[in-house]
Structure formats: structure tokens, C-alpha cells
Symmetry: C2
Subunit: 244 residues, 2 copies
DNA sequence: GCGGTCATGGGAACATCGTTCGCCACGGGC
DNA sequence: GCCCGTGGCGAACGATGTTCCCATGACCGC
């Protein structure tokens, strides 16, 4: 804060003072910059030193507002959890709603490249995560899922979504889009080149093994989980549980 | 240079030569010792230096037999994949068989603490992994699952198993058995202390959220996936797909 | 036999990383 | 008006994966 009765600064000292501007360095500011680095360059580029540099200071300064890197990651994860959104329950469409919510959550995680890796470590329990859990549970309850089933289901669901996001980030980080295509081409050829007598099943179904992009696989897993949950329903069959 | 006409070694230098025994340092030997360290102290303790120290040499020596740490991890993962086992297909029990195979695979991964984290990065494609995939696919085919479904299913199944193993290892590494119990106690209390008007669903089903150990949760997820897969069956209902 | 070549073995160093130590400057309470 | 606590931060510590460069020793063509 520049005082009210400031003396006219000597001209040759002029450029130094504004460069040394008093940036009040708070936990929020630190998380802000960390998020910016994460979104732009991924988790591997996020180091304490990098954050400090962005704030034009040394790494030691951060530790006054953040216990360590793990806490910083937790704060970031909690903030990201706040971006998760769940639709209002529609009992007739609960299965599709759960699948769509899962797809949306996956999109949120991959929007911040690599952070899913850290999120897998700390089960989030902040207010944002609670709201999300509450909303999913409401969806399930509206669909008639008994509580004992629903409780564990949300746990398994978020584990699956995070795992897929982690896998995505790990693959994306070492290959470009084009290299990934070539890689899958090679895998396909490799499968085809296998001896059919030792791998009769694999060689006869290469297409089913390697076809399908990330989104398709993700959705398939979500559907497996949801239909599995629906299969426990005792009396009435859930609406979407018909053969296709 | 020790010439051909070697002078008789001084007695006090004697014990040095056998200690400096020529250990021929091969890729297999490196993987062996790395596995020993992993099993005894976990993935975090596994560093190039640690492996080199165990072999009484410097870290640089390893790079003649192993391109880098990632390749070493890949070799270890491939070896571990060889421990995976799948029962011979019994068409009447294919659902239980898949679940049991999943539980067994999880046991293999957690027997080598932390390695699942690395396995999530590199989808294994070595011969051992192929045999495993082949066996699971045979199980599914015997159960009457169409190929297009089965292909993606094995992918999702192993992703889920690995994810659960990763979660386990991450939690186990920061807390002892007793601390974990206390931790869950705290979570339970925390859930109970939440305002019921803002979190009506969560507060009314705390038990369903926190109860159940790791194995129970793992099995539940496996059953979700398998029952989900069975629900696609068009004609006949799969044997185990009855309400309970 | 013998000299040269080349892969293996390894000591030292480099570039990072997360984190801690100790000092500096400032600002509000006695 | 002094004084002490606290935020800021340069420097350093210990660890990591990896590379440089040199010594050693075995093999191979002459």
C-alpha cells in the first residue's frame, strides 16, 4: 500500500520499487497460481519452485501459507471438486443421469491435466465433495436404490472415474495425439501377429479389444456399474434395464 | 594392469579380492534385487541408487542393462503379471469365476506394495499379460458373453482392480493399521456432525457410506461390473442374475 | 602371441525436487 | 519508543534420475 504523503521518489530508484511491488501472498493467491500452472502445463510441471517463481519469490515463502506440497494439492483438489455438477433427480431417468454425471465428472478431472493422480491419493472430504456425494446419493435414492447399496456405489463410481482420468493423463503425457494413433495401430498389428494356437481367443477378437476411443470405454464402464446396480433391484425392473 | 606374472598377493590384502567378487550384473539380477526391495519396503523405497547399493555398485552401472527407471518398472510389472492366475472356465459359474479371479489379481498386486501405481501407467502387453487376458476372455466366452462386450470388459475390469490396489497402497503408506481405524472413526463422527438440513441424504445413511472393509468394497465393485455385463445378455438370463 | 577395440563397471557431477535454517525488515502492543 | 513476533526469502540440505567420462578387462584379427 503506497502511503498518502509519499515523497517524490528518486528517478534512478524508480524502476526498482514497482518491480518489488508488495503482493500480499496469501493461501488463495498461491492456489490460484498453482491452478494456472496445472491447467497450462500439467501436474508434472507443478513444483513449489515453479509456483514461487510465478509469484516472483523464493520457494521458502510458500511454506508460511501452505504446510507442504500435499496440502497445496489437497486445496487444489477441493477447489476442482467444486466444479463438479449433478442434475436434479428425475426418477425415470436415474440410470442415464448417473452415467451422464460420471461423464461430466471425468471431463472436469481431465480439464486439469494430471490432477486425478493426486486426487486418487486423498479421498476428498471438503464441503464441495460432500455436496457432490449428496447429489449423487439423491439421484440414486430417487431411482429406488436401497441405501446400503447406494453408499458403496458412490465410492466405487468415483474410484472408477478417477482411475480412468489417471490412465488418460498418463497416456496423454508421453504421447502426442498422432503418436497415440500409431501406437494403437502397432498394438493391433501385434495382436494380429500372435500365434493363433496359443492365443485363440485374443487373435479372434482383436477388433473388440482395441477399438473404441477413450470416451466410449469410459461410458461403457459407467454403464456396467449402473446396470450392475440396477440388477440388484428386487421387484420391478429398472426402466433402462432391457435387452438391447 | 595385472600382468600374467602376478606377484603373490600380500596376506592382508587377501580378504579384499573375494569381497570384490565378480558378480556378473545382468538385467535379471537387477530386476531380482529391485523386486526384493519393493516387496520389503514398498515402491517409495525403490530408487536406482538403492538397487545399485544392494548390488554393491554405483547407480550408473545399472544403465548398461536397463534403459531407465521406467523400463525397470515395466520389467517388474511384467514379472508380477506372471503371478496372475485364472481358473479353467466353468460355464455355469462364470460370474463367480470372474469375481474370484479379480479378487486374486488384487491380492497379487497388493502383495508387491505400491507397484500398482506404476502398473496403472503402462498397460502391460508382455506374454504374461497376454496369457492373463486370454484366460479371462475364455472365461467370458464360455459364459456366453459376445466378443464385442468381452473385449472392452477385460479392459475395464483390470482398470478397476488396479485402481483399487492403488488406493489401498496410498492409504496404507501413510497410516498404520490402528491409525486407519481411528481415521474411519473420525470420518464417521464427522458425517454424523453434519447439518441434517443441508446434507439430508448423507446424514441419514452414514453407516452405508463408511462401513465395509477394503475387501468387501472391492468385491462389491467386481460384482457390479460382472452383473452389469450379464445384464446385456439378450435371450437367457445368466444363472447368477437373480434377485437376492 | 599381441595389440587394439569395445562393452561393461563405476566415480563424479548435473539438474531437479521438497523442505528447513537463519536472517532481514516491518508493524502493532506494552 | 522499544521489542518482539511474523511474513518474506536467499541459501543450503538431502534426495532423486540420469549423463559424462574414464578405467578395466575380455575378445578378436593379425
Amino acid at each position: 500500500m503506497t502511503g498518502t504523503t509519499e515523497i517524490p521518489p528518486p528517478p534512478w530508484r524508480r524502476p526498482q520499487k514497482p518491480a518489488r511491488q508488495r503482493r500480499p501472498l496469501s493461501q488463495e493467491l498461491i492456489v490460484d497460481t498453482a491452478m494456472r500452472i496445472l491447467d497450462a502445463e500439467g501436474l508434472d510441471a507443478l513444483s513449489m519452485r515453479r509456483v514461487a517463481m510465478e509469484l516472483q519469490t523464493g520457494p521458502a515463502s510458500l511454506y508460511a501459507h501452505v504446510a507442504n506440497k500435499d496440502e497445496l494439492l489437497e486445496l487444489m483438489i477441493d477447489r476442482i471438486t467444486g466444479e463438479l455438477d449433478v442434475p436434479a433427480p428425475d426418477p425415470d431417468r436415474w440410470q442415464e443421469q448417473v452415467v451422464e454425471a460420471g461423464m461430466a465428472a471425468h471431463r472436469v478431472w481431465t480439464r486439469h491435466p494430471g490432477i486425478a493422480r493426486a486426487a486418487l491419493a486423498n479421498i476428498p472430504l471438503g464441503p464441495n465433495a460432500l455436496h457432490y456425494t449428496e447429489a449423487i446419493l439423491a439421484l440414486l435414492r430417487a431411482g429406488g436404490v436401497p441405501d446400503e447399496r447406494a453408499g458403496m456405489f458412490v465410492d466405487r463410481l468415483s474410484l472408477y472415474i478417477l482411475a480412468d482420468a489417471v490412465e488418460d493423463s498418463l497416456h496423454r503425457e508421453r504421447r502426442t495425439e498422432e503418436e497415440t494413433r500409431q501406437y494403437y495401430e502397432q498394438v493391433r498389428d501385434y495382436f494380429h501377429s500372435l500365434p493363433a494356437d496359443r492365443f485363440p481367443v485374443i487373435t479372434s477378437m482383436v477388433g473388440a479389444l482395441v477399438d473404441g476411443g477413450g470416451d466410449e470405454r469410459l461410458r461403457y464402464g459407467l454403464e456396467l456399474l449402473v446396470r450392475g446396480l440396477a440388477s440388484y433391484a428386487t421387484g420391478r425392473r429398472a426402466p433402462a434395464d432391457r435387452p438391447d
